[in-house]
């Protein structure tokens, strides 16, 4: 269609001025699109640069992660040259003012012996100096085995099941309860509403360290520690962040539709379901997504409530298995978090579609 308009515009260019205006405008839009998209791409590359570092680490050999400043940034291993059944390490050696790639045959502290891989039978070359100071020759060598090692090391399928269950059940709970509470704050004449709302905001500000010990004691008393219940049930009682966000959104919705429905005799619950919620899909999807991602990566609470229950912990805690104080395994941490990222990224990517459809339902074309 665009191409057609384009050619039409071109064919009219000769005889009418309008065509040339349209042509210029299209060209201008094309230029703007290219500029804006290119700019966004550059920002994105800078933004995701550390992610590439994580990605590279996930494929590295453990010994290579803390390579020195002139080591390669990609997963690599030192190149070798096989001579007479032996793998000889390759180095950059300067011999007679010329840097050559040589294979090391023998080394001592003061001098080392090399052969030329291009001409191994030409004889040995002796180089004087400390071999540790020589530059190594690297070749790209990703270790795919890290993923298998991580998958088995933490029993990834079980972690995935635990994480999904905790995140999804809690998500349903927080969406339903937060919508209802936000609706009350946005639309109903409750005495003392201002004070109640300040208390709600106050619960966000209160550091969780304050309530942690008494809360833990409470859950222990009713036998919930060591189960998912402390991680799920509280979300069925609305969450201050989500109530705040939903309320802000509900306040921007025109009241005329509510009032029309009220005059038609709709109950407040009916108005919520038929008038408010259909206008609010973008923010509801956002709230659901935020909870899902929060639950996916929550570390502190699963750690204390699921202590000693290794078959119930979510991924964020399971990763910690690779973080022993004396034997940290950064490559396995990164491999596990890459695998853990797949589900939320896919959900996010597809949730956007609903997000956009929600926008269309509210009658605002972007």
């Amino acid at each position: 269609m665009t191409a057609q308009t384009f050619s039409q515009a071109r064919s009219h260019t000769e005889d009418t001025g309008i065509g040339s205006v349209r042509y210029t405008k299209q060209l201008r839009n094309l230029g703007l699109t290219a500029t804006v998209s290119l700019f966004a791409l550059l920002v994105l590359i800078a933004f995701l640069m550390p992610f590439a570092y994580g990605l590279s680490t996930a494929f590295k050999d453990k010994e290579m992660i803390n390579a020195t400043a002139n080591g390669p940034i990609y997963p690599a291993e030192q190149s070798t040259f096989t001579y007479q059944g032996e793998d000889l390490l390759l180095f950059e050696v300067s011999v007679e003012d010329e840097t050559r790639t040589l294979a090391m045959v023998d080394r001592t502290r003061r001098e080392s012996t090399f052969i030329d891989p291009d001409n191994p039978d030409a004889g040995q070359i002796v180089w004087e100096g400390r071999w540790q100071q020589l530059d190594k020759v690297w070749e790209f060598s990703p270790r795919y085995g890290n993923f298998q090692e991580a998958w088995e090391g933490v029993d990834f399928p079980i972690l995935l099941r635990n994480t999904l269950a905790i995140a999804l059940i809690g998500m349903v709970g927080t969406i339903v309860s937060s919508i209802v509470v936000a609706y009350a704050f946005a639309r109903f004449p409750i005495p003392g509403k201002r004070i109640l709302f300040m208390i709600l905001i106050g619960t966000i500000i209160l550091p969780r360290q304050v309530t942690l010990v008494p809360t833990y004691a409470l859950f222990a008393e009713i036998g919930w520690t060591g189960t998912w219940l402390p991680l799920i049930v509280p979300h069925f009682f609305a969450n201050a962040y989500n109530v705040f966000l939903l309320r802000q959104y509900f306040l921007t919705l025109p009241r005329e539709l509510d009032e029309a429905a009220m005059i038609d005799g709709a109950s407040p619950l009916r108005i919520l379901i038929s008038v408010i919620i259909p206008q609010s899909w973008p923010v509801i999807v956002a709230v659901g997504l935020f909870h899902f991602v929060f639950a996916w990566n929550d570390y502190f609470e699963p750690l204390i409530y699921l202590l000693g229950k290794d078959n119930l912990v979510p991924i964020a805690v399971g990763i910690q298995d690779f973080n022993f104080i004396y034997d940290t395994q950064p490559h396995l941490i990164q491999a596990t978090s890459l695998m853990a990222l797949v589900v939320p990224v896919l959900i996010f990517f597809f949730a956007q579609r609903v997000f956009m459809r929600g926008v269309v339902i509210t009658g605002v074309d972007k």
């Binding site: 699109t33 500029t35 804006v36 998209s37 933004f47 992610f51 570092y53 994580g54 020195t68 309860s177 209802v180 509470v181 609706y183 009350a184 109903f188 004449p189 409750i190 509403k193 201002r194 905001i201 619960t203 500000i205 209160l206 550091p207 360290q209 304050v210 309530t211 010990v213 008494p214 069925f236 009682f237 609305a238 962040y241 705040f244 802000q248 306040l251 921007t252 919705l253 009241r255 009032e259 923010v283 956002a286 997504l289 935020f290 991602v293 990566n297 570390y299 964020a316 950064p330 990164q334 596990t336 978090s337 853990a340 990222l341 939320p344 990224v345 990517f349 956007q352 605002v364 972007k366």
Partner: protein
């Protein structure tokens, strides 16, 4: 206008409808009220009570009432001032960024000239989904002064990069750079706000000859001001809860020279590491009081710059 209509009808139909709506309001509010009592108020009151006792997890002696002992200790504790200062230094960079950058990024993501929107949105949001332990490892590597990619890149253009994570000046920019990685959340909320702005407004402004910048300043910004307000509140609160990144990065040591001894790290160490729950509760209550003052001030300021279609802030 809408409000006065409602009020008129409610009064004309008598007290009954008003009462009925109140009842509905309480019903809808009830999940939060029950949850607040069970998971909020009771533990909070218990915590307040702890601050007047010598409650700890190490001794078997029964809890004793000690009056204001913990509050006296608070006044003598040098780390209280140090940790509040660290939080303020971090905030001086973090707050402006938290207000401005999500709006700019959302505007870019909302641009009619951007192609591949879903691709961009997903990727800008993605780092927010990286587990904290893993994100801190990544940044620890990237910000390494010798081998880190940032200093290696700076070296290419002839700049000798700073020792990001071990210099008392550069640690705050470094922590803020790490913090920027989770901007996706605020970006998404701001984007949702921008998409809720009625297109008629833009069309009317276009007819009046307003350029893109004027439209952004006079339509987009006022219309999304409730969302900016939300971002600001959440950022301030986030500052007072700041814990995960510096704690994982420095294992709670406060290095370099207590520059990362943020208030919550101090609190966590007192309460859980040294197991002085009572003093931990006292520290928590001071933090709560400070946070409340700031939040009230921002809520008070809202009426001067936040625009609402339907109602006032409260």
């Amino acid at each position: 206008m809408a409000i006065s209509k409602t009020t008129q009808r409610e009064t004309s139909q008598g007290f009954n409808l008003q009462q009925q709506r109140r009842l509905w309001g309480w019903v809808f509010l009830s999940p939060w009220i029950i949850g607040f009592l069970a998971f909020g108020l009771v533990p909070i009151v218990a915590s307040l009570a702890f601050s007047f006792t010598d409650f700890n997890l190490t001794s078997d002696d029964p809890m004793q009432f000690v009056g204001l002992e913990n509050y006296r200790k608070l006044l003598d504790d040098p780390l209280v001032g140090i940790s509040l200062e660290a939080t303020a230094k971090f905030a001086a960079i973090a707050l402006p960024l938290a207000v401005i950058l999500p709006v700019l990024l959302a505007a870019l993501m909302n641009s009619e000239y951007l192609s591949g929107k879903r691709f961009f949105r997903t990727l800008f949001y993605m780092p927010y989904m990286v587990p904290a332990v893993s994100a801190v490892y990544i940044w620890g590597g990237v910000l390494n002064s010798e081998t880190g990619w940032i200093n290696r890149s700076l070296e290419l253009i002839g700049i000798n990069g700073p020792n990001w994570l071990f210099d008392i000046t550069w640690i705050y920019p470094a922590l803020n750079i790490i913090g920027l990685w989770t901007i996706g959340n605020a970006m998404l909320i701001t984007l949702a706000g921008m998409q809720g702005v009625p297109t008629e407004l833009y069309e009317a402004a276009k007819v009046d000859g307003a350029g893109p910048l004027t439209r952004f300043r006079n339509i987009t910004l006022p219309m999304i001001s409730p969302v900016i307000f939300y971002n600001l509140i959440i950022s301030v609160i986030g500052l007072f809860r700041y814990f995960d990144v510096p704690y994982i990065l420095k294992e709670g040591s406060g290095d370099p020279n207590n520059a990362t001894m943020f208030y919550n790290i101090h609190l966590y160490k007192e309460a859980f590491l040294f197991q002085d729950m009572a003093y931990g509760a006292t520290l928590a209550w001071l933090l709560f009081a400070i946070a409340m003052v700031f939040t009230f001030a921002i809520f008070y300021s809202a009426k001067y710059w936040v625009y609402y279609n339907a109602e006032d802030v409260f």
